[in-house]
């Protein structure tokens, strides 16, 4: 019944940029974990898929989005970017619309991803 997880940390991002600080604070946790040498995957669920749209800019008063942070993922060796297929469909988006290379996950794929990580943080 228990399968041993193979990766350290799964950060689930369920919010888009600008509206709240969830995306930024979730990404911060992922970057710090990666900087400490942990193997980190990101899972974009629900509204979180909009974080991966190209063409984002600053918000009111020059509010920084999370665009620059997303560009840094590769530098931090965070390469496993998972995306909930259902969320793409809900927002009328395709994998090709995403600005980074992502792996689309079916419903069972999401459950498997959770099983495969020693620690799960939801944002």
């Amino acid at each position: 019944m228990s399968e041993t997880p193979t990766a350290d940390l799964l950060v689930i991002l369920r919010h888009g940029p600008h509206g709240t600080s969830w995306l930024r604070e979730g990404l911060d946790a992922a970057l710090v974990a990666a900087a400490f040498g942990r193997e980190v995957s990101l899972l974009f669920m629900g509204e979180g898929v909009t974080a991966l749209l190209p063409g984002q800019g600053p918000g009111a008063l020059g509010q920084k989005g999370s665009s620059a942070t997303l560009e840094m993922l590769e530098m931090y060796d965070i390469r496993t970017l998972l995306v909930e297929e259902q969320a793409l469909a809900d927002f009328g988006l395709q994998v090709d619309d995403m600005r980074l290379t992502v792996i689309p996950l079916s419903t069972t794929g999401v459950a498997d991803a959770l099983k495969d990580h020693r620690l799960i943080l939801t944002f």
Partner: protein, 96 residues
Amino acid sequence: MLLHIVNRSPATSQVYRQALEGMGQDDRLLLIEDGVQGALPQLVRYYDGLQGRLFALKEDLASRGLLGRCDGEVQVVDVDGFVALTEEAERTVSWY
């Protein structure tokens, strides 16, 4: 087996869908805070297919006047039982 924890009502929030999507076949679901509304017979249908794996927190039901109104499919546990559920699960995932 993972324990998923939901604190939002399925009547007002889509969070329950994310929790269901994250659930494996043996995983359990615990409803806390406003999430316990999902234990009502009219709302428990959102959790179809979780028979035997669906729990609701007694203290949060009681404080909302919902303790006697749960669907029979839902297992009511107190906070001590909440800790026991986290002991039995390998990990917990919170959906809020």
